[in-house]
Structures are given as structure tokens and as C-alpha cells.
Amino acid sequence: EEDSVYLKTLEIVGFKSFANKTKLDFEPGMTAIVGPNGCGKSNVSDAVRWVLGEQRARALRGAKMEDVIFNGTDSAKPLGMAEVSITLADCSEALGIEYDEVCITRRVFRSGESGYFLNRKACRLKDIQRLFMDTGVGTDSYSVLEQGKIDQILSARADDRRIVFEEAAGITKYKADKKEALRKLEHTEANLLRLDDVVREVKRQIIS
């Protein structure tokens, strides 16, 4: 299928072990990334997950988000910023937009300041998520399958295993809506209770 969306390039700079600007070009089909253990192969998949909006630092094997920034070695200084960009090609038809290539960038500074960019213009993560809604691109979907997903599926805990299915069913968003509705309901019920007390008091004053 010639015109389905595909990942064209991945550019990494200052992200984890990729201190220097690194660019990978992809083509439709299968690309293999090989190399010895501990040389940073998995940081490539972490970079893809991160640029798509991964919020859990632990899922990226760090304690806080700033930990993704290249932290220096014996011979190299730590960097102040990490940036990952992916360019997706053949987007216009699939996403119903006027440009054919979409570039998503995520950046984080050591100060904690961070941001997302869509075709080099600042945007919110929400804008990116909205653009790719229902296409299967995103952290909640199957754009990146790693050992952790296998662990999740093999987990003894039924909850862990459910999460994978809930993502596939696309109900993660509804669960957030429900949580919000339940919170509002609790708030409304508390208000009703308080109002009941006031009403009773006013009633008493009217009768006397």
C-alpha cells in the first residue's frame, strides 16, 4: 500500500546516549537495528515512545523526565537539552490534512522546561494526539512494542493484562471521562447535602 502513513525519519539529539545529532532514514517495509548490548539500541525505541508523548519517566528507565537528557561521560560534558523529532510521510490522505509530511518534535531542558512542536510550530501534546486519533499512532497504541508489553501480558496481575486490552479497545479515554464525571458527581452530592441543611434552616425561620 503506497499511500499509508509511514515513519520517514527519526532525529535524535541529546537524548540519552545519543549526544550527537543522529538521523535515521526509514522506508516502508522492515528495518533492523542491530548492535551489541548496552550500546543504546533500546534508546532508539525509547526516543520514539518519548516523542509520541510518553509521560512516565519510569517507562523510559529514568526517575524524572530530565533524566532523558545526555548526562555526560568521562570525556564528554552533560548536555542541557534533549530533542527528538519524527517525520511521518504520506499523511495527507490518511489524516485529512493539506501537508503530506508531518514532523513531531519534543524537547526538554534540564530546567524541566519542555515543549512539543508540530511542523516546527509550538503546540500541545493534545494537538498531536488529536491529529493521530484513531490512526494507531501514539503511546496508548501499538506503535512501540517492547519487552515491557510482554511482561504486562504475562503478568500474574489481571489488572496489568487488562490495560493492554483496554488500550486496544480504545477505552482509556472513556475511563478518564468517567473518572472526571465521578469526581463532579461527588462534588454535586456534597453541594446538595449542604443545601439541604440551609433549606431546613430557612424553612424553620419561615414557620416561626
Binding site: 545519543f18 535515521l24 522492515m30 542491530v34 539500541k41 564528554a76 494507531g136 489481571a158 486490552f165 443545601l195
Partner: protein, 222 residues
């Protein structure tokens, strides 16, 4: 007679205490406040009703979506398991059919020539292969235009990797794969290869091993 009556009325008047001259105004104020509060109560009750409706709708929508996806994945999984194991059978079971939104998911598998068992009793390789079968089934139901596979094949032996690569190749018409791997067999199925090395300790470097000429040749032959 009259004097007694006057005394009586006076006593009654005294018992009433001082006259509250603003009582009428106060009463009107209270009435107004009461009406306002009743309106508020009505609004809050309506809001509550609306929220309860909304939660009910979310529950039924998510139940339907989940059940629908579960059934589809289950059907794919039974196929995919057979393909990846070269036989046997497997299925997914909901631990509670009544409460789909809270139910656990049990994976029951029978590798070729073995008895039906839960995944905790399978060997390491069989477990990984079962999980891969399930992931591929999920992927089939909810495909992504591209997918990065990070060493999913790490725990598989040669025979299993061959079937893994075969199943993966079937997906290539629908998705692009970027696969991080150590396996020679998996690498052989790729059209482009990147090597990641650390020439300087702690700093990753990417070496392209794209076989452009080879690919062009292949295209010409087609």
C-alpha cells in the same frame, strides 16, 4: 365585665412580647431565599441526574467496545497461536462474564502435543511466544501504521524465531516495522539495517548498512 376583659387582653398582649415591626419584610425575604434555594436544589439535582446518565452511557459504551475488541482479539489469537506454534490451540477467557469492565483475562494455551494449561505453567520460550501471539493479535485488531519492536524475539530459539519472522512478514503489507534485534534470522528479513555502536564510551553512534544497490537490483528484477 369590661374591666376583666381588658385585663385579660392586656395579659395576652404582654405575653406576646415586643412587636417585631420588620417581621413582614423578613418573612418576604425568607420566602425569596427559600425559592432561590429550591431553584438551586433543582439545578443540582438535574446536574446529578445528568452525571449519572453520563456515567451509565460511558459504562455501556466501554463495555461494548471492550467486549467487541476482546472477541475479535480472541479469534485472531486462536489463529495466531497455531501459526506461531505450528499447531496446538489457545484461547482467552474472561474471568467474569457478567462484569466485563472489571473482569480479569485468563490465557489458556495448549502447545502442540501438550495438555491445556494456564500460561504460568508454560516454559519461558512458550510463554514469550504466547505473549507475542497475543500482541500480534492485538496489533491485527488495532494496527498502527508503523511499529517499533524492541527485542521481542530475545527469548526465542531458532525454530520459534523462524515462525516469528514469518508472522511478522505477513504484517508488512499493512504496517512498517522497525525492529531492534540480535537475531540473524530476523535481520535477514529486513531490507534496511542500522548498526548502533559505541566507539566512544557512553555515546551511541549509528552506522547505516543500507543495501541500496542490492535493493535497486531486487527492484529491477521485479
Amino acid at each position: 365585665m369590661i374591666e376583666t376583659r381588658v385585663a385579660e387582653l392586656r395579659a395576652k398582649l404582654d405575653s406576646m412580647g415586643p412587636v417585631n415591626l420588620v417581621a413582614i419584610e423578613e418573612h418576604a425575604e425568607h420566602e425569596e431565599r427559600y425559592a432561590f434555594l429550591m431553584k438551586q436544589q433543582e439545578d443540582l439535582s438535574a446536574a446529578k441526574q445528568q452525571l449519572l446518565e453520563m456515567i451509565k452511557t460511558i459504562n455501556s459504551t466501554t463495555t461494548e467496545l471492550f467486549k467487541n475488541t476482546f472477541d475479535k482479539v480472541n479469534a485472531e489469537f486462536q489463529e495466531m497461536f497455531k501459526k506461531l506454534f505450528g499447531g496446538g490451540s489457545a484461547k482467552l477467557v474472561l474471568t467474569d462474564d457478567e462484569d466485563v469492565l472489571e473482569a480479569g483475562i485468563e490465557i489458556i494455551a495448549r502447545p502442540p502435543g501438550k495438555k491445556l494449561q494456564t500460561i504460568s505453567l508454560l516454559s519461558g520460550g512458550e510463554r514469550t511466544m504466547t505473549a507475542v501471539a497475543l500482541l500480534f493479535s492485538l496489533f491485527k485488531v488495532k494496527p498502527s501504521p508503523f511499529c517499533v519492536l524492541d527485542e521481542l524475539d530475545a527469548a526465542l530459539d531458532d525454530a520459534n524465531i523462524n515462525r516469528f519472522v514469518e508472522a511478522l512478514t505477513d504484517f508488512l503489507t499493512q504496517s512498517q516495522f522497525i525492529i531492534i534485534t540480535h537475531s540473524r534470522q530476523t535481520i535477514a528479513a529486513a531490507s534496511v539495517i542500522y548498526g548502533v555502536t559505541m566507539q566512544t564510551r557512553g555515546i551511541s553512534k549509528v552506522v547505516s548498512m543500507k543495501f541500496a544497490d542490492y535493493q535497486a537490483n531486487e527492484k529491477n528484477m521485479k
